[in-house]
Symmetry: C2
Subunit: 279 residues, 2 copies
C-alpha cells in the first residue's frame, strides 16, 4: 500500500486491506514495513522519533483485536520505542486468537542516501526467530535482511515454513536507470532464500512516491510469494494490491526430498561465517 | 563441452578449446567438472575407481604445461585418488606461469538417483579456498556447492573476486517436465551468490546426453557469467560453447559501495549457522 502522512489514516487503511484479504481467504496476513507512516528515514530529524510507539502500543493492540476478530495471523511492523534512546525497526506476530507471539527486531540496519536507518534504529538483539502460529511456523525478517543468506538460513534451521519480509524498498529518482537491475537483484536474492532452504518466501513492499519531487524515493512494489523451489507463485505490480496466495506446506517436504540441500551442509566448515573478513 | 568415453580424447578436446579461448583473449579459463570422462556417478561400479588419478598426475601436469605455454590461468577438475580408499572430486588452479596453486576438494557431496557421488567422493577437507592468480583472486567451488550460500560467502570473505563453479548438472529424462524449473533455480541461486557477496560468478557446465537412452542424464549446459550485481553478462546454450567474458574487477568495489551488504553482517548472531538444525 501507499502511505500518507496521517498515521491514523494509514492504520485504518491497513485494517481495511487486512479485512479484505481475510474475506478472500487469507490466513496469514503481512503488511509492509513501517506502514503507519511515510518512510521517514529519508531524512535525519530528531522530532521524527515522536512517531515511535511502545509494545504493547496502539498498533500491536489494534492488530491483536483485528486478528482475534478475523481469526487470522497478522504480521505487523512498527517503529518501536523500547526505552528513551533505544528504538527499533520491529516486526511483530499476532496469532489468530489475538495472542501476541513476539517481536522480531530488524537485525541488519542499512544506511544509504535517503535510507538513513542507522540514525533511527538500534540493531536488533533478539536474533532471527520463528513463531508457531495457528496456520504454520513462520519467520518475520525485515527489508535489508533480504540481502543476507544468513538470516534466511537461521530462520529455516528453526523450522520456518514461510519467511515474511515486510519491506520498504524503492529507488532514488536520480537512480532510475538502475531501478530495473536493482529490482531484479532484489527478487533474485529472495527467491534464492526459498531455493537454498526449501521454504516459501513472501515479500511485502511499499508502493508510491515519497519525498520531494525529483529527489524522493519511488517504492517499486512488486510484492511476491515464491515457492520452496524459488518459483514465483504471484507477484504484484507497482500499485496497491492484495495478494492472496495458497502455500501448501506439504510441498516443502516434497521439494526438500528432491533437493536435499539441508542434508549435506558442511557444518564443520562454516565457522568462518562469524568473521567480518577472513584475512 | 560434451564428453566421450575416451579419457584421452576428452583431455585433447579440452586442450583445443582452452587454446581457442586463449586465442580469443581469455586470461582465466575454467573447464567443466570431471571433464576427463563421462559423468560416471550415474552408477555405482567399483571398477570406475580406476579412472581416479593422483596429484600431480596426468591432468594437472597437462594443464600446467598448457597454462605456461599460453600464459593463462587454468581451473581444472579431476577425480582425485588421494590414497587407497580416499578419492575426491577435486578442482585445481594453475597459475599463468604453470605453477600449481592448489586444490579445492568438493565440500558438499550430493547423492540422488543417477548422481551417486557419495559412493565415489570423500567430502573435501581443505575448506573453502581462494587462490591469487596473475589475473585475479579466485575461488573454485564445484557443482553441488552451488546450492550453498555458505560456501560462496566463505570464499568471498577471503577476498575472492570471481567464483568459478565447474559443474555437471542435468536432468534425468523421466524428469524433463521439471527441467526448466530446475535450470531456473540453478541460475537463480548462483546469481544470488554474486549479489550477496558482490563478486563475479562463472559457472561452467557439461552438455550432451549420457547414459542409457530414455534413462540417462541430459546435461543442460547454460554456462554463464554473472556480474557482482547478479546480472547475466553472457550465457551459453545447451551445446558446446566457449564463453569469453570481460570481468572488470573495479566493478566489484563500485557495486559494494552502492550495496554495502558486507558492512552490515551481524557476525555476532550467525553462530547458529554451524548447527545442523536449531531445535
Amino acid at each position: 500500500m501507499a502511505c500518507s502522512t496521517d498515521v491514523d489514516a494509514n492504520l485504518a487503511k491497513a485494517g481495511e486491506m487486512i479485512r479484505e484479504a481475510a474475506r478472500r481467504g487469507a490466513q496469514i496476513i503481512c503488511v509492509q514495513e513501517l506502514f503507519r507512516s511515510q518512510y521517514f528515514c529519508q531524512t535525519e530529524a530528531i522530532e521524527t522519533f515522536n512517531l515511535a510507539e511502545p509494545v504493547p502500543g496502539p498498533t500491536t493492540e489494534s492488530f491483536a483485536r483485528l486478528a482475534r476478530e478475523l481469526g487470522v495471523v497478522l504480521i505487523g511492523s512498527i517503529f518501536e520505542r523500547r526505552m528513551a534512546g533505544v528504538y527499533h525497526n520491529t516486526a511483530f506476530v499476532v496469532d489468530a486468537d489475538g495472542t501476541m507471539l513476539g517481536l522480531y527486531r530488524k537485525m541488519h540496519i542499512p544506511d544509504d542516501p535517503r535510507f538513513y536507518e542507522k540514525y533511527y534504529f538500534t540493531p536488533g538483539d533478539l536474533g532471527f526467530r520463528c513463531f508457531d502460529t495457528r496456520y504454520g511456523r513462520i519467520a518475520a525478517l525485515v527489508c535489508w535482511d533480504q540481502w543476507y543468506p544468513e538470516g534466511a538460513r537461521l530462520a529455516a534451521l528453526q523450522g520456518a515454513q514461510i519467511l515474511f519480509y515486510p519491506t520498504a524498498i524503492g529507488f532514488h529518482e536520480s537512480d532510475a536507470g538502475e531501478a530495473q537491475h536493482q529490482h531484479n537483484a532484489w527478487e533474485t536474492i529472495q527467491r534464492s532464500h526459498a531455493i537454498a532452504n526449501g521454504v516459501y518466501v513472501a515479500s511485502v513492499n511499499r508502493v508510491g512516491h515519497e519525498g520531494p519531487a525529483g529527489d524522493g524515493l519511488q517504492f517499486w512494489g512488486g510484492s511476491f510469494v515464491a515457492d520452496p523451489q524459488g518459483r514465483m507463485l504471484a507477484k504484484a505490480g507497482d500499485g496497491e494490491e492484495i495478494l492472496v496466495v495458497e502455500c501448501d506446506t506439504a510441498r516443502i517436504e516434497q521439494v526438500r526430498r528432491n533437493w536435499p540441500f539441508l542434508r549435506d551442509r558442511r557444518i564443520d566448515a562454516y565457522g568462518g561465517i562469524t568473521a567480518r573478513v577472513i584475512d
